[in-house]
């Protein structure tokens, strides 16, 4: 199982802060994951509609859409950060 975490408006649109999912073996990259997730529910689709506004952390490291998700235990999906 992989733990997925959502923050800010991604969390609001998905409807949950986190979920444990069994990722299908065909998912290799962050982009593959986002495509698969977007089909899970209308909430997921709404959250992921604007991919340019999506940032991803794989095991707590920023990861681009081409990054591998192989072996990841925690993947977070969130908007661009606005701290400071």
């Amino acid at each position: 199982m992989t733990k997925l975490l959502y923050f800010a408006w991604v969390r609001e649109r998905v409807g949950v802060a986190e979920e444990d999912v069994a990722l299908p073996p065909g998912l290799a990259t962050v982009a593959d994951l986002l495509d698969w997730l977007a089909a899970r529910s209308p909430g997921h689709a709404a959250a992921l509609a604007d991919r340019a506004a999506i940032r991803v952390g794989v095991d707590q490291h920023f990861a681009g859409t081409g990054a591998s998700i192989a072996g990841a235990s925690e993947i977070a999906i969130f908007p661009p950060v606005t701290g400071g």
Binding site: G57, H61, A76, V81, T82, G83, G84
Partner: protein
């Protein structure tokens, strides 16, 4: 050594600056930056775990690039009122140039690399500003 903290409670700028220099005579410059909530109450959300990791990574990058003798990074989360301090960057060095540059670098990178999100009362989620990315990018090395 730049120390990082993530907390809900406020901080005392004077006490933090004094702690950097206590018992030392090798420090010739302390530069501090304090970020404040402007006009509208907000709630800051963050990603526990990655936040600490990213803050320390930014701190380590600054320490590797400038001769920083001591430093403190504090970022608050939770509910904040207008005028409340959000973030503190304090850097001590032998000379002012390193302290100014490291402090400027730290806040620029913190803003674009630490996973915090501002939600303003009545206005919703704050959008990221292109200017913040540009400010962070100016520290990129050729």
């Amino acid at each position: 050594m730049i120390r990082c903290r993530v907390q809900t409670v406020s901080f005392d700028l004077g006490a933090e600056a004094a702690a950097l220099t206590a018992g030392r005579t090798d420090i010739g410059a302390v530069v501090t930056f304090t970020g404040l909530v402007r006009d509208v109450a907000m709630t800051l959300e963050h990603y526990p775990g990655m936040t600490e990791r990213q803050m320390q990574s930014v701190a380590d990058a600054a320490a590797a690039r400038w001769p920083v003798l001591a430093g403190t990074l504090i970022h608050r989360y939770g509910d904040l009122a207008p005028g409340d301090p959000i973030v503190l960057v304090a850097v001590a060095a032998s000379h002012r140039a390193a302290a100014f540059e490291a402090a400027s670098f730290l806040i620029d990178w913190l803003k674009t690399r630490a996973p915090f999100w501002k939600h303003e009362a009545g206005n919703g989620w704050v959008a990221a500003r292109a200017g913040d990315e540009a400010a962070a990018a100016r520290w990129a090395r050729p």
